[in-house]
Amino acid sequence: MRKVAIAFVAAACWVMAAAALEGASLPAEGDRITVTLDVLLDRLAGADDQVRAQARQIIPRYGADAVPGLVKLLAREEAPVWRTAFICLRDIAHQPAPVTMDQRVAAPPRVAVQRALAGVFLENASEALVRRALDLMPQVWAEGDDPAPVVALLDRPELREAALRALNETATPMCLDAVARFAEDTSRDPVARREAAMALIGLSGWSEASARARRLLADPDPGVAAVGARLLAESGEPADWSALRSAAGSLPPDIPDSLRFEFWDACLRFVDRAARAGGQWELAMAWYRDILASAPDTVTASGAVMGLARFGDETAVPDLLAVLDRPDAEQLANPALSGLLALRGRAAGRAIVDRWEQLPEDFRAAIVEHWGTSGGDFEAEWANDRARNADRPVRRAAVRGMVKGSRTAAAECLAAYLDAFPDEPFDAWELPLRRYAAEMVWGDEAMKRAAALAALQLVRRSKDEETVFEAMRWLKAYPVPEALDVLKAEIRSGGLSGVPTDALAALAATMIRDGDRENGLALAREALAGASPENSGKILTALTAGGIAPELTELLGVIRSWQVLGPLPWQISAGFSGAFAEEPQIDFSAEVDGSGGKVTWKSVKETGPLGEVNLAGVLGMVEGAAAVAVCRIVVPDPAKAVLRCGSDDGIKVWVNGKAVFENDCDRGMAPDQDLIPVELNAGENRLTVVVTQRAGGWGFQARLTDEQGGPLQFSVVP
């Protein structure tokens, strides 16, 4: 007996110890489970949140055994308690069915939860408990579980909404059928039936939906029928249209407007669904037209307008325009305009253009702005046309759209518009134009030109210094003829700084070629004045690229007539310190020893556009040689000038017998490689040049300018 007592005490102590363990593992035997579960449930119901959290972790492991106790706790008022019980019940409902030792699958714990909740619904339970049970229902009920206990709650107004929500979310065929039966039961309160019917909306995959919707649509109560219409709208099946449309079109005159709206709204939803489903385009379009023509309210009619536009093609254009002739046009105008803007494709665009004169001016303006911004080729072309030819409001909108849409022609259109309407406030254009130019400047040649034209407008019209500075930078990056005055002013104030000289010269060349000789030459002159050798070379190259050198010969001071002697013996190691330390003897009738035999002076009058003399062509291809070239320059008065030479390879220059420059180098020739200040006497001056030849090409070029790089009055004696 004493041993038994000791054992009993030991066992009790063990159980108490086990219960005291936090997060203890599951006991293995029945007595311990019972005791431990009760303790855990007590802990769950206690005031200590930490202890409750630990209990919540373990209780679901008891499965169905824990359900009765948890349901009791679900009724408690303390939110932490019932919420924790709720979570435990949910977890238990989701547990898989246990497998017994003999491999039999027992009923899943969900069944125990479902039965317990059904009991709650059937008992005269508190409202709070029932609501919590209803919240659990969608996670617990399975197909085949009878929803009758929940359906019975639909007669309790205070619980109806929660019960319907539970049935809707559970959405088993039995649940939905039960709800539908309730809604169809004309012996019940129409308000309750309507609420029930609404719970069937928004379900997918219920095979009975269409049939039940039709029954509800035929309900004698218009409120229930309206919900039936809404439900039927979810089918989008052509076979259902007739019933739905007939119901909407045959409503009694005394029906409230709100209900009438619901029927027509259902029609609209039906067609939207059909249109989205695809494959029945013509039907959908016909149905939209029907709704537009028949709907008693402008909200539904607006929806039909947008449906025609969203899914339609060019055939919708007449429908959209026709609403402007309706008595309710004021309400439908905006949807019609939105619809016209929403239509896509050239066919639709052409249909709108074909009816252009029918459109109100605000429509035209909105359309061209939209098309200018984001239209396709056809629409953009029309916007471009309107930006040049329309009346001011439409023209302005078209230009604005084109600027926003970064159309290449936008800047040109804007310039013309601003010129045409000098009173146009420029402030509103500044930011769009800056964005436009900033984007276009990165594009191809046409886009760069557009950026420059936009920048020109900013330079001319903006009052904001930062804007003008930025625009000037773009304009310098791509100078355009239209900006001549601005560029000249810029050159006068800051020289060539920032302006790509080749672009500037190309601009001058273009102007000359296009007939604006005076301005082109002026620009070239200003560009060349004071240019560095590198820049003036670039300018000259660009100026002559278009073959306009004859126009510029005088301006550039090109020397194109020489007497040449060579090839003469010359060694690289000697440079200009040997035979050419002094000016060579000049006797045009002499015959001298050349590097390959006797040589005589040759007259050269055919040069390149910048006076390039190809010595290899005149004297032959040699290596290790030199040539002497002489010309006579006549100036009316003593003058300080700059001789601008290029050579391949080294070059040495004498003026009137005085050495003024030498550059013993190995290089290819480019214009104006060397700038040599010289002083000329009034009358004739002798210019002597020695050009060395190491290997490869052989030649030189020279022109004479004033000290600033501008034209110098002189002539060359033949």
């Binding site: 052509p238 249209w241 007739s242 449309r245 007939s246 079109g249 045959s250 989205r276 489903a277 695809g278 494959g279 029945q280 385009w281 013509e282 039907l283 379009m285 016909a286 149905w287 037209r289 029907d290 023509a293 028949s294 899914f311 339609g312 093609d313 060019e314 896509r344 494709g345 050239r346 066919a347 052409r350 396709g376 080729d377």
Partner: protein, 389 residues
């Protein structure tokens, strides 16, 4: 008598209320998307792939077993370049005579005419065999040129190649094709069709710049006579031959494959028999009609023109590339084409026709369905007949 009047009145009232009387004749299609978002091949076909007596769907790398088409079985890996696959035709043909339908195809990038050997059942191990390397293949035309009951294969290339499947005495394919090359300066290029233009009972070959008149012996490659009687651009494959206006002469129906337009060319002859052609526009503002087919799709006993846009036929660079896409059929009545829109909209919610679509009654309801592939996705349009019977 009184009941009868009531019935009529009720019918009239219902029709008037519902407003759908005008569209009674419109065909209703159920649009079903096939495959996933990677089913963007441009060619498709309907045939019984696994021999189970149920029609299946084929498009590019996959085939979809009927009747529900929910599963897919791999056929072959196909070269993918930009938005294209090297697979511009999916024609079923028992090439090797094993009673299983194989697939004949070709593509632009691979420049090669292939056939893919059907392994039977749902086995994925299709083997791709090279028929010939013939240059960029815009598409293939399959047409019985010699009247033996078997279609020849003509890849759209220049020069004009005709491939004839070598068959045994029982008519079974041997897995081998004979290649013939028409010896002519004309023909070839983008746009190809076949039909009897001359009225001599022999199918001629039609191209973008003229037609080749068939000789008495189809296989006399020197006998084809070139008639440069028109000049189209990059037009459809096929160019259809059909007596559009019922005058007994074969006219042409032509789609602009890479531009705006769909038109028919009326053949006329003067008393001396000299041919003249006049163009009649069907569409001027819809583009990229790359594939055209004639089928009696509304069961009225006459053929309709079925076509649609090949979405991004040139990778988004064609005129109208960004316009909505669509799938259409046109009823033809004495030279007048009336468009019926089956599907229309932006490519994320509508379907075009691809480069090689297929028309066949796949569900056996007596109405021809349309399998429309394309870069926008693969769609099956199940024809439910007129919306209101």
């Amino acid at each position: 008598m009184r009941k009868w009047w009531f019935a009529v009145a009720a019918a009239v009232l219902t029709a008037g209320l519902s407003g759908w009387s005008e569209e009674n004749s419109a065909l209703q299609f159920e649009r079903v998307r096939i495959g996933g978002h990677d089913a963007t091949f441009e060619a498709a076909a309907i045939f019984d792939v696994d021999g189970d007596g149920v029609k299946d769907l084929v498009s590019g790398e996959w085939w979809y077993p009927g009747p529900d088409f929910r599963d897919r079985v791999h056929i072959a890996d196909i070269r993918h370049v930009d938005t294209y696959y090297d697979d511009f035709s999916n024609y079923p043909m028992d090439v090797n005579g094993d009673s299983r339908l194989d697939i004949v195809t070709g593509g632009w990038w691979g420049e090669t005419l292939y056939w893919r050997e059907n392994p039977g059942g749902r086995n994925p191990g299709w083997i791709t065999h090279t028929v010939a390397k013939v240059g960029n293949i815009e598409r293939c035309l399959f047409y019985d040129l010699d009247g033996d009951g078997w279609p020849e294969v003509m890849p759209v290339t220049k020069p004009v190649h005709i491939f004839r499947l070598v068959r045994d005495a029982q008519g079974k394919g041997t897995g081998r094709f004979e290649q013939f090359t028409v010896e002519t300066d004309g023909g070839g290029g983008h746009g190809l069709g076949a039909g009897d233009i001359s009225g001599d009972g022999r199918p001629d070959l039609i191209f973008a710049s003229g037609w080749l008149e068939a000789p008495a012996d189809t296989w006399d490659m020197k006998g084809w006579k070139w008639h440069p009687e028109w000049s189209f651009g990059l037009v459809s494959v096929p160019i259809l031959t059909h007596d559009v206006n019922g005058d007994g002469l074969a006219d042409l129906i032509v789609g602009e494959g890479h531009g705006y337009g769909l038109f028919w060319m009326e053949q006329r002859r003067d008393n001396s028999g000299t041919r003249a052609w006049s163009r009649h526009d069907i569409e001027t503002d819809r583009s990229q009609f790359h594939d055209l087919q004639l089928h009696d799709i509304n069961n009225d006993g006459r053929v309709e023109l079925v076509t649609g846009k090949r979405f991004w036929a040139h990778n988004g660079h064609d005129p109208g590339a960004r316009d909505p896409i669509g799938l259409y059929y046109y009823t033809i009545d004495n030279g007048k084409f009336t468009r019926h829109v089956i599907d229309y909209g932006p490519p994320d919610r509508a379907s075009g026709a691809g480069i090689y679509f297929w028309v066949e009654d796949v569900d056996g309801n007596g109405w021809k369905d349309i399998l429309a592939p394309g870069k926008e996705g693969l769609y099956l349009f199940l024809n439910r007949g007129p919306a209101v019977p």
